[in-house]
């Protein structure tokens, strides 16, 4: 088991899948000759050539639609959208074509594309380059949405996404590409559904996904050491479909829940997890669940304002203490 970076894990999954199947291609802005903004496709252009590693024009809706059309005929495109903010321009093709074509054709046609996008607030990127849009994708029938919190998941989820007969949206995070973690040396496929108990606990469940899993883990550490609270961390790496049973099981065990997300609160992952808790295990609760989320503002540029907008592990700790009547 080697320790590699998040971007290396994604690159390895690309490479293995492209070596295995000549119909697997990748496309996006700057992914070929330039090697990819986050290096996720580094060296692939040299190895597989311009017909399979396609530097696209800056035409998000166009090239996403082109990838979807190619998938109709058995090509397996891995489409990189450089920043999730640009995915808004491709929403027409993702939602109207990829997500709906299987249904509206009565199962005759499908669009098994993989769409990877880097999202999240990085360092002072401002209002139009800091979006977290997973909540938009997860509400659309016909799409699978996954979001890796570590290199192993980044590798295994992309591998599974390429093999999936459904369109899969993979939500990555700009701050996580250089994160290190262990990835199996042998081929590994991560399930596209379910959730993972990353740290078992008994007193409260901290639900996170992608970067917020790390806030939860850090918060759990502090809660254990300083407050003698045993927090269970559940990694919701699959956002669509959400793991209702996994959510229920953990809440039935701890009877308290905090949901941490980098996105704004309205209609978000937190809202949805809370609704599931209500529907699945309301009577297991000892206290109302609490959400940790960003402020509802277009991302500000100024460093102090940005910091005030985006939550972190301290906000998770505060939320737990509030839940325990200690704050």
């Amino acid at each position: 088991m080697a320790e590699i970076m998040y971007w290396e894990a994604i690159r390895r999954a690309h490479d293995e899948e492209m070596a295995r199947d000549p119909m697997v291609i990748c496309m996006g802005e700057d992914i070929g000759v330039a090697g990819g903004t986050y290096k996720a496709t580094k060296g692939l252009y040299e190895k597989y050539g311009p017909l399979r590693v396609i530097d696209t024009p800056i035409s998000e809706n166009g090239y996403t639609g082109l990838g979807i059309g190619a998938s109709f005929l058995g090509v397996k495109p891995i489409i990189e959208i450089m920043s999730v903010n640009f995915a808004w321009l491709a929403m027409d093709q993702i939602f109207n074509s990829a997500a709906k074509v299987r249904y509206m054709s009565g199962g005759q046609l499908s669009a098994p594309v993989v769409i990877r996008a880097a999202g999240g607030a990085a360092h002072q990127l401002g209002a139009q380059h800091s979006a977290r849009m997973e909540k938009v994708f997860m509400g659309v029938a016909g799409l699978r949405v996954v979001t890796p919190s570590n290199p192993k998941q980044a590798y295994g989820l992309l591998k599974s996404a390429v093999r999936s007969p459904d369109p899969v949206y993979i939500n990555e995070h700009e701050l996580m590409y250089n994160m290190k973690g262990e990835v199996p040396d042998e081929e590994y496929f991560h399930p596209l559904e379910g959730s993972e108990v990353t740290r078992p606990g008994t007193d409260v469940t901290l639900f996170g996904y992608n970067i917020s899993v790390h806030w939860c883990l850090k918060a759990a550490e502090i809660l254990a050491k300083q407050y003698n609270i045993s927090a269970e961390v559940v990694d919701l790496y699959a956002l669509a479909p959400l793991d209702r049973e996994g959510i229920r099981k953990s809440v039935a065990k701890t009877h308290k829940a905090v949901i941490a997300e980098e996105d704004e609160a309205p209609c978000g992952v937190g809202s949805e997890v809370m609704a599931i808790i209500n529907e699945e295990c309301f009577w297991e609760l000892d206290a109302p669940p609490v959400r940790v989320h960003s402020a509802l503002v277009p991302q500000p540029y100024a460093h102090n304002l940005e910091k005030a907008t985006i939550p972190d592990h301290e906000d998770v700790v505060k939320a737990v203490l509030k839940l325990f009547g200690k704050a």
Binding site: L73, Q93, Q108
Partner: protein, 320 residues
Amino acid sequence: MKLKDRKRVLREMVLARRFEERCYQAYIERKIGGFLHLYPGQEACCYGVMEAARPGFDYVITGYRDHVHAIKCGADPKAVMAELYGKETGCSKGRGGSMHIFDVAHRFMGGYALVGGPFPLAAGMAKAIQMKGGDEIAICFLGDSANNQGTFHETMNMAALWNLPVLFVCENNLYGIGTALHRSTAVVDQYKRVCAYGIESDVCDGQDIEVVLEHAHKAVEYVRSRQGPYFLELKTYRFRGHSMSDSRGYRTREEEEQWKQRDPINILRDRMIAEDKYTMAEFEALEKEIDHYIEHEVIKFAEESPDPKVEELTKYVLAD
């Protein structure tokens, strides 16, 4: 065209016309719901191009005025009508409706309801064809107003850049819903708009199928021999409104009457009659026979087919 082919295609166009007129009636009777965009007036466009291409072999994609394109590719008119009736036997199993007719077995890759949406999908299919190395081409039939979408420009650029085997057929019926072309579009000649991307293009009358066929042969040959993408503009007219709730206040009855003088079915029929190769009596018998077929087979099938099962509501959202 040879007489045999003329007669065959006349028959096909009459079927398309009567099919669509019967849809109109079924819509009034509330047998068909939703939106319904009918094709009468434009038949020579689809039939002319597809006579030059290979229906069932080449991949065809279009917008929401899609019934006739599906039928020409090989879809069973019964399955198309059943789809409009929302039945399980419909060609999209009642999940699609008028705007989403699919028959993938015949390589009719669907009707899509976002104006301009199929442009990149068509180019993508061409990309797949290019990778697989087959002899097929992708054909994208859309209207004039689709050319005002960003997808038009984005796709023309990529199709030219990567030399994709795709034929774009622009059925220019002069109106985008209820707005005249010259009121929405700075350059009215659509074939000129692709010059900016270095794409070969042509324009011709879309009412005379033999004219369309001649130009389409050139276009199809160009794309099939892998010289690049191609854009063919056909000047045509839809006799009915954009959809069913359309009072046609944006155009005059005189203009409509002028175009009806150029009915694609009558043009072919009258030419054959003028050449003493066909008679009005034959044509009347043909219409009668086709009406009988539509009533007693197509409509009957749609009427008698079962509804989709409500228990299967979520089938086809994701793969099983």
